[in-house]
Symmetry: D2
Subunit: 337 residues, 4 copies
């Protein structure tokens, strides 16, 4: 951590800051410039709240050297984390392909889609039972009934289930019915929920908030890991920018960025990122060659009549064709599907 | 709602869409252009999920005419809403000035600040008991003890209490201890929490998410109102942009925008918007002349040693001086403090 | 174009607007809703300035149906444009690989790099002679001497030259020395410059402004094409967002978006998008599988001593290795390099 | 400047970097941390291109201590700059009110508006002769004829003229006809144009690019000042964000930010920032209380028939009323109009 002081800060005021930093366990070295002095801090600064330093009126700004996360940091865990889900894994040489509808709508719908995607080679079934919708008047999901239907689909296909948890109220049911708990983009900084899932040992699929930086995503992972649950899978699903052609802007550079900074696996959601079914294929391919550990893709057997997000869902037929292409791409990357 | 069809959509496919729209209760008028046809929908479209229409592969895009919110919409409630909190109000001719520290730290701290801001003319005391922090290693608030201390501060000063609720687990305590429940920016789309506070009749201070549009803010208000609680106060607290000089970019044009679209009161948080104590004064003044119904300002008696956000807190002395200036400004706006 | 009227607009005022629209050559159909009426316009609206309509106080908003560009629009030119540069092309089945240093620094440097990239399979040499730099104190390029050196490199390798034009003052020299004129991101809306290059028949590589929408990029292409020069190649090079890990955020979804809307070729600049040499490889691959017609990549033989942008330049050795990988990727896409 | 090194950089590699920095005239102090070492640079680093340092593969990042601008920096010029334009000033206790139409349309139009705004108390007349338009098919301004008409309006009212220069081709005419040369947002980084106006002594109104940081705005001012012309007036006119209710998001916090960092005057353009005539009044007032040195406001005598931007123009009547309010506001700020 580097502290830049305001011009003309007195020797006495500098010493006060140095003493405070030393009391927090840091060694401090001072560089005196013509206009501004700077203090370099050595030691573990990851647990120092920078606001505590910036609140000093003689401090112009605080510059970060060390990342503020520890458990998610590759520096202290050089190898890639591989998360186990039943006999499947996410994070190794086998790409994790998660597919399924935005919402569970009926037994027929979810089992039919599950069977189709399984046949095409998907490894996991996604399906929303509790749905975060911008409007209170939109379909909010089948809730518990949805979880029951996912269970049936799992029994028929063997596919592990990925579903979004919106409230700790139903965490127990999720622990029973679901194999990977998804924390959605809108709840990425719902710290209470993060702590609660951090106390379980269930794998967590943590989606990047639509205006969250990569560092904030890693800090939210740190919340879960700090409670003891290190089974965290990160997911980039588009960030909010000025461009409105796509619903969000898929930030594929987040993949190499996260890979450099963290050991956690990263998957990509091209469906929510673009909101456009015809962009799913090119961006799914792009994710794989950029180094993603997997994909989460919306598949619906009747998109035009889907209860939500039909415009970003592809049909099982198109999904099967995409899987063929992805297998070729994976080979070039020395990965399998 | 206007539906723009893809070029060369067949007459038959157009009729299918028309029939579907009519089945949803809309009258449909068709305009046939050289390259594209468009369908105009008449009727209450606020409860139609646009995704359901966009999922049709012949639909190029859906353009909105009507706002998707009803209870928050000024069109159906032309007068300004005035929210009552004890013998105070928010939304009328008297500006609501909410002040206090980021976090409650001790009885001395909170009562001393409460007395100072009361003397300076503030109407409400804010103080965080449960704190949403980016890092799990930062101070997370005194929790229940914080609520107890706020209660003491209220007893000593009579100031109603504003505090942030992060989890429905402690909603009952908030209903008992707090006069206005704040929903923070990070939880603006925590729909589960919105529904739960919507089932109470406690005034809700709903902060705009840092990457939420004005329409999304109004939709989140609609979530609360749709459950029966119409005591919603909106708060603009800065949006996330590319500019990093300030922590966020305060969007003051949100005030006239919201005033035009909704009858709900709007207050401004210049402290969180900028993250810089020396910007609080100019932007607080700006908020008032732009039509805000009030302000929420961080005040701390010892910013350099505050447990959080000291860099954006002003001292009680500076706050008292600011209040003098705000009174003059309010007069020009035909308002009082 | 659809005009949404303010609630309670009088019949008389509606007629005034209808008459004005009809005088501009449009047929107008009216849809009368409970709260708001809307006017649908049929005819060529691409040349109607929406501001002229929105300036009417009874108009709430104008919604677009038709794209505002014509010559760049795929609707009127369904096949892909293929731009010819000497015996090379951009836009067909052969990917255009443009490589070279940020700045031309010396004859040795530029000819050495040119020979290396040619051997690796690049089709074009890029090199800056006139450099747009944020600081007036940074190296501004060798200017005319740089163009002379590029000419020498072309003579030695046969590679066509791509270089950025910043000012119409030197357009004549560029017409003589350069094969593709690059218009940089900062000049994407320098309309005067666009018109001037539009009067030539030189191929133009038009970079997307860092905060320009895809539609604005196409409108800038339209400026050039409207003057008669249809040899426009578009380039996505990252947009400005809140994320600061990378210099900009590469928007790969712009490729399928542009391909759907326009017939012009699109290439990707992963070097400027990320500002990080180690991200060039993954994002270059991603661009190809997303449908890009080519790449523009910074290559420097001594990045650590480059006069500009060394941190985003890769070495000729690394470039040669990247080309091997790209060839395999291209094959899957049924393209060649 | 602080250089953060990659983990495990060797002593030898550190010394190479230290030597390079010393050769650029800096003293270097080294702080050795457990995981990363940092180098603190002392001396004038404003002319060091950070890219030159970041290009070293052992450098993780470069953190800035000193601002990269000198002539625009308040550190070296503590007092406010006051720019003289005839017998008027911008930057002192008298607020500069610049008003007039988007485009000059006819002699009647411009002289009538000029007389109206003068009577209401405006100090300067704005009017576009050369217009930057997104579409090549929109009205592009009356060009030289527009400048002639502005001259007539000046002769009739004595108001100095502010008009936008888009191309150096007509700089000589602007030097003759215009009192303040405006550089538009789209040309803020047209460095060639900046250098050319920097060689004159005409006051320059430099608008912030819609996606430019405050620091980049100051760097563009530095371009002009480095050529010898220190008569620069900065203008905030809205930045591009995800919010689309307003055309851009007016960033009023830029005023205190710029005032802290620079001595140059700052004015605000609420018309372009919002694109909505009914937002001009509240935001104009807000600008004054936030510390702006003036305003530039679009006024048109017939907005519904304006050739451009009628939706953001106010009538002379409304402008006169606004001026009355602004006078009261100015008084509170100890300023005059």
């Amino acid at each position: 951590m580097v502290i830049v002081l305001r011009p003309n800060t007195s020797k006495e005021d500098i010493n006060k800051i140095k003493n405070k930093m030393e009391s927090l366990g840091c060694a401090v070295s001072e560089t005196i410039g013509e206009n501004r002095s700077i203090l370099g801090l050595v030691g573990d600064t990851s647990k120092i709240d920078p606001g505590i330093i910036e609140s000093n009126r003689n401090v112009e700004k605080v510059l970060f050297v060390q990342e503020p996360y520890k458990k998610a940091n590759r520096l202290f865990h050089p190898g890639n984390s591989v998360i186990k889900i039943g006999d499947q894994t996410i994070g190794g040489d086998k790409l994790a392909i998660i597919a399924g509808p935005c919402s569970v709508e009926s037994e027929d719908q979810i089992t039919s889609i599950a069977q189709d995607i399984k046949q095409a080679g998907a490894g996991f079934l996604r399906g929303g039972a509790y749905k975060p919708r911008t409007s209170p008047y939109s379909f909010q999901g089948l809730k518990m009934e949805g979880l029951e239907l996912l269970k049936i689909a799992k029994e028929k296909t063997g596919l592990p289930i990925v579903s979004e948890l919106m409230s700790a109220d139903v965490l127990d049911s999720f622990l029973e019915y679901v194999d990977v708990i998804q924390i959605g983009a809108r709840n990425m900084q719902n710290f209470d929920l993060l702590k609660k899932v951090g106390k379980t040992n269930k794998p967590i699929l943590l989606k990047r908030g639509m205006s969250s930086t990569i560092e904030e995503l890693l800090m939210s992972a740190e919340y879960i890991m700090a409670e003891g649950n290190e089974n965290v899978i990160l997911c980039e699903r588009g960030i909010r920018t000025f461009e409105s052609f796509t619903r969000n802007t898929l930030d594929l550079s987040a993949i190499p960025a996260i890979k450099r900074k963290s050991h956690l696996p990263v998957i990509i959601d091209p469906s929510h990122a673009t909101g456009l079914w015809w962009m799913v294929e090119p961006l799914a391919k792009a994710a794989i060659v950029t180094g993603a550990d997997g994909l989460i893709i919306e598949v619906h057997n009747d998109p035009a009549n889907a209860k939500c997000d039909g415009q970003q869902s592809i049909t099982p037929q198109r999904f099967a064709k995409l899987m063929e292409t992805l297998k070729k791409i994976a080979e070039i990357e020395n990965k399998t599907i």
